[in-house]
């Protein structure tokens, strides 16, 4: 099967900091990949490179066999990659609905002018929130929301387009048990719809319940890449901490 995403020798240096060194990664459609590693291992850096936030220092990225070079996040999004960033990337001063549609607002043409169609955006956002079983209300300001509601806003964004790849950077770090179950359920639905998912998480049970494969990064290097059926939480923990060198 053709790899929907292929990373070859991805290296990223921030000044003297070697955040990533020579990371290779393949992802197939319908696959859920668990990306694990200690804080500072380079997980967020890797997904930001995939998402077009910044280019790698060296290495190549291909989508369905075609090499790509994203100059800005918008290009990655247009190529079918949706990301839930670790900090959620929300504007606190805007409503839930405006955050969902930020950068791809629905507009209505009146003569030569285009005006925001808030009604349409609010209605569509309400549907997305209902779909995510979140009680987030479209017109609420993000500033006034709970962690779970904020999470729902960031995840709802990924449902606006028909992406091929959805990446979630620690989506379950700050939410309740019930909400975690909803997020995992969503990931399973995405998988059934044939999407590829990358899940960054510190929670072993989450990774072992929804992921097909687990990749472990340690200090910027990939130290393991195997099917979850061939590993165990104990082995992954050892790989993350360095107690086990590679696997």
């Amino acid at each position: 099967m053709m790899n929907i995403l292929e990373l070859n020798g991805i290296t990223k240096n921030f000044g003297g900091i070697h955040a990533l060194s020579g990371v290779d990664l393949n992802l197939e459609a319908g696959q859920v990949l668990g990306l694990m590693g200690d804080n500072g291992a380079g997980k967020s850096t890797l997904i930001k490179i995939i998402a077009g936030s910044f280019p790698p220092t060296s290495g190549t990225i291909s989508l369905s066999g075609k090499p790509v070079n994203f100059a800005r996040p918008r290009e990655a999004r247009d190529a079918g990659i949706e990301v839930v960033h670790q900090d959620l990337a929300l504007c606190d001063n805007l409503t839930a609905s405006m955050n969902v549609f930020l950068g791809r607002e629905i507009v209505r043409k009146i003569g030569p002018f285009r005006f925001l169609n808030r009604t349409a955006m609010n209605e569509q956002a309400a549907e997305l929130f209902a779909d995510l079983k979140s009680e987030t209300r479209p017109k609420d300001l993000v500033r006034q929301m709970s962690g779970g509601q904020r999470q729902a806003v960031a995840i709802a964004r990924t449902r606006l387009s028909q992406p091929n790849i959805v990446i979630m950077d620690e989506p379950t770090a700050a939410i309740s048990v019930r909400q975690v179950a909803e997020v995992l359920d969503l990931i399973r639905r995405l998988q059934r719809a044939g999407l590829a998912v990358i899940l960054i998480s510190h929670r072993m049970p989450d990774v072992f319940s929804v992921c097909d494969r687990v990749v472990v990064l340690r200090r910027g290097t990939k130290v393991a890449d195997k099917p979850v059926t061939e590993t165990s939480p104990e082995e992954v923990t050892g790989l993350i901490t360095g107690a086990i060198e590679t696997a």
Partner: protein, 341 residues
């Protein structure tokens, strides 16, 4: 005076937030209170001609405050507006006169070189170019807005002095001065321009994609960028917009004074920034409205006018307005820390 939600949305019904309500309507309440006080103390205050006079006096700085609202919403600032007004006004007047040869000709006999429309366009072009240059320095060279526009304040003033050789260009024909002194019905032309600009700016901010992006950049620039907002272009554009307002205001001011001068607009940034901030736009960015800015501009105008009617010296007015500005920002800080908690 920091409204918690002025991005044109409904508040959620989570019980009555008395502080939020008070904060949101502080400026309008203060304005109404001030009008009542002056009306009681000075019966002349409520005379329609006096009220129109107040509007006329705030129209120039108010027009620029509308542009400044865009800038401050992105968490920026423009200190150069007064100097840019001087430069743009001189260039507009120069174009109208077709040179410096008859710069002092007075009254209806004054020689005209070019149609008024050329003068307007020239003044606006200078404003836009000035704003664009500052916008480029801010977005490309990554120099903070405070520094760029502080430099601009000096550069544009120097350019105005150099351009005019220090003296004024004065004495325009009526088709020019009408824009500053004329009336449509009983309403002075600059007042109409002010409200027209306010209406357009309001629609742009609340009902267009660009307006939404202005709020987004002020709220969280990095997040806006990640979501595909061209933050650099938005930031650049707000300085172009305030530059446009400076150009138009410069023309109206020279028409009203029947003179364009290199020393015009000295200290104008105080009234402009005060109107925006007193009107509830947060210096932290992301929160505020054109409605608030209009209220802020009126508040300053009413205060000045009322104090004049009560024979309070202009020195004291300066002090009062400065103190109110500081109080408004203190209030904003308090509101911001309260909403973070």
């Amino acid at each position: 005076m920091n409204p918690h939600n002025t991005t044109g949305e409904m508040e959620p019904d989570t019980g009555t937030d008395w502080f939020g309500l008070a904060a949101r309507y502080a400026a309008p309440i203060f304005l109404v209170g001030l009008v009542l006080v002056f009306a009681l103390l000075q019966p002349n205050f409520l005379h329609p001609l006096n009220l129109l006079n107040v509007l006329r006096q705030v129209s120039i700085s108010g027009l620029i405050a509308i542009g400044m609202t865009f800038v401050i919403l992105t968490a920026g600032i423009d200190l150069s507006v007064g100097s840019l007004v001087a430069l743009a006004g001189l260039v507009g007047a120069y174009v109208f006169k077709g040179g410096l040869d008859n710069r002092f000709a007075i009254g209806a006999e004054a020689v005209t070189g070019n149609p008024v429309i050329y003068a307007v366009l020239a003044a606006i072009a200078v404003g836009i170019i000035g704003g664009a240059l500052q916008g480029l320095a801010i977005t490309r060279l990554k120099v903070p807005p405070f520094v760029v526009t502080l430099g601009g304040l000096s550069v544009f003033r120097g350019a105005a002095l150099l351009f005019s050789g220090g003296g004024p260009i004065s004495g325009f024909r009526p088709e020019y001065t009408w824009w500053g002194q004329g009336r449509i019905g009983i309403v002075p032309v600059p007042v109409i321009m002010f409200f027209l600009a306010a209406a357009i700016a309001h629609i742009v901010l609340k009902h267009t994609r660009f307006g939404m992006h202005v709020y987004a950049v002020g709220g969280n620039s990095a997040a806006s960028d990640l979501n595909g907002v061209n933050t650099r272009r938005v930031t650049f554009m707000v300085y172009v917009i305030v530059g446009f307002c400076c150009g138009l205001a410069a023309f109206l001011l020279s028409a009203r004074l029947n003179s364009a001068e290199a020393v015009a607009g000295m200290g104008l940034e105080l009234d402009v920034i005060a109107a925006v901030v007193i009107g509830g736009t947060s210096l932290f960015g992301g929160v505020g409205s054109i409605f608030g800015t209009v209220v802020g501009a009126l508040l300053i105008g009413v205060l000045r006018n009322g104090l004049v009617l009560m024979n309070v010296s202009s020195f004291v007015q300066q002090i009062v307005i400065g103190l109110i500005l500081i109080a408004a920002v203190a209030f904003d800080q308090y509101a911001a820390s309260r909403s973070r908690a």
